[in-house]
Symmetry: C2
Subunit: 266 residues, 2 copies
């Protein structure tokens, strides 16, 4: 079966795209067959992986407006790695689909048609809880939440959890938050460890309840701040291609290993 | 006259709120009478300045839905500093106002009623180019754009400039981009100086044209990455209250000086 993951946080600039690009790449390097989906009209995942948003005929927009299947829209970007790209038309998708019946489950329908010989489908969401992100949540089984270990990040988390709860109640009962990932972690800053402790307590207190994050892991590897991670996208490269010997590569390789097999870390 | 500034960038987490909070505070300390407006339903500016978003009767939402004037909604938070706060109702404002005639100029109307004995009105915008941000652009004379010196930041800038151009053509002919501010600047990273050079070239090439950024300054002071800036909001404090002797305080004091009197830096 295809393991389907949405990477979501409505707060901007927390590391969603960087995480999708590099975790997808790490899994592909390990031999997993991965589809990375760009649901952000800003096309950052598409650009990050070296694809010109104007260069493909079919992408996320065509799939959402039902003029193409996912299979006909995939771009093979690396060995074992395909992208469903975002082009500028995606900007209009949310308003175009606003009156469509079942407007939140269109992507779910499309994902159901994917062949079973893919191992992972990972969706990069825009920084919002609007229709594109709702389509992602309705289509997957797991949510991974990248979070900056800052005070205001905790503020937004509540609203995000509320949205996941609503989707799991009304649309997608199998939806779970599988993991929270601390990004841009500064181990010298007490703020980082204070926010981390807050999140650990929060998750601990929800163990044994039936809320969607009751079994969420706080991923034990944090993505350290590393300028190489910010440089790689300007070359259309993953971190492993750009600088295999840096903290960014080490962190994302370990995070991919954890997601693929959490038991091996315990 | 009141100098009216919108701080805008649709990219998330680039330093808009941190900039509004600390520049407003620095100007107030210098004796300027400043209104800081929180137009973000996330209420981060409100929280940053120590105001509970549930604690005031009237705020940005009431002003936008015309049930209160700005004068009746200001909260005095420091000497010379007032906040027009954002509460959770603001989340609904964009959809509530979507069919209102002149929906983009409602805030402009409200701002016209402000007494002339304020010196500055500074608006913190949400990370989007939607109706709230358009109301900000229609109401002010100047835009200040905080930018993270990263590759993908340049990608979003084009769309932002396009929006400012449209507003200046169709709604607010006096609208100009007065400044671009590099935030979270890492002077050891070549990426920071490469992006800075790109922006300098871009601005240089538009001198003498009649586009809204023809006279924009790249502010000569950059906000360096400084964890104190991320810690201060969790205490409801400005950087000057939290840690007057750190790079964050020095940078924002100098930035406020530059905005108040650019000539003194040349
Ligand atoms: N660990 C890191 N160290 C340094 N820079 C990083 C790191 N992670 C991400 N960045 C950079 O920070 C910026 C924001 O990251 P990214 O684009 O992944 O966030 P995002 O959550 O996808 O943003 P958006 O909400 O706009 O989609 C990018 O320029 C990226 O290259
Ligand atoms: N120079 C800096 N050094 C360290 N941390 C910073 C700096 N500037 C801002 N931050 C922190 O980075 C995060 C994002 O900053 P901020 O909230 O000001 O951005 P924003 O553009 O207003 O975000 P949003 O788009 O969500 O409104 C916050 O947690 C803030 O405290
Ligand atoms: Mg992104
Ligand atoms: Mg903000």
């Amino acid at each position: 079966t295809v393991r389907k993951i949405a990477v979501l946080n409505q707060k901007g600039g927390v590391g969603k795209t960087t995480t999708v690009a590099n975790v997808a790449a790490a899994l592909a390097i390990k031999g997993q067959r991965v589809i990375a989906v760009d649901l952000d009209p800003q096309s950052h995942l598409t650009i990050h992986l070296g694809v010109d948003p104007d260069s493909f005929e079919n992408g996320a927009y065509e799939v959402l407006t039902k003029s193409a299947s996912i299979a006909d829209s995939l771009v093979n970007v690396r060995e074992n790695l395909w992208v469903l790209g975002a082009n500028i038309d995606l900007v209009g998708a949310e308003s175009e689909l606003v009156s469509e019946v079942g407007r939140e489950t269109i992507f779910h329908e499309a994902v159901e048609t994917i062949s079973d010989d893919y191992d992972y489908l990972i969706i990069d969401c825009p920084p919002s809880l609007g229709l594109l992100s709702l389509n992602a949540l309705a289509a997957v089984d797991e949510v991974v939440i990248p979070l900056q270990p800052h005070f205001l990040a905790l503020q937004g988390l509540g609203q995000l959890l509320q949205t996941v709860t609503l989707v799991s109640k009304r649309i997608n009962p199998s939806l779970k938050i599988s993991a929270i990932l601390l990004c841009m972690f500064d181990s010298r800053a007490t703020l980082s460890s204070e926010v981390k402790a807050d999140i650990q307590n929060f998750i601990g207190n929800s163990r044994g309840t039936n809320c969607p994050w009751a079994d969420a892991d706080l991923i034990p590897i944090h993505v350290r701040r590393n300028v190489k991670l910010a440089e790689a996208p300007s070359y259309g490269k993953t971190i492993f291609e750009y600088e295999p010997d840096c903290n960014g590569s080490r962190d994302y390789a370990a995070i991919a290993d954890f997601l693929h097999d959490p038991a091996s870390f315990k």
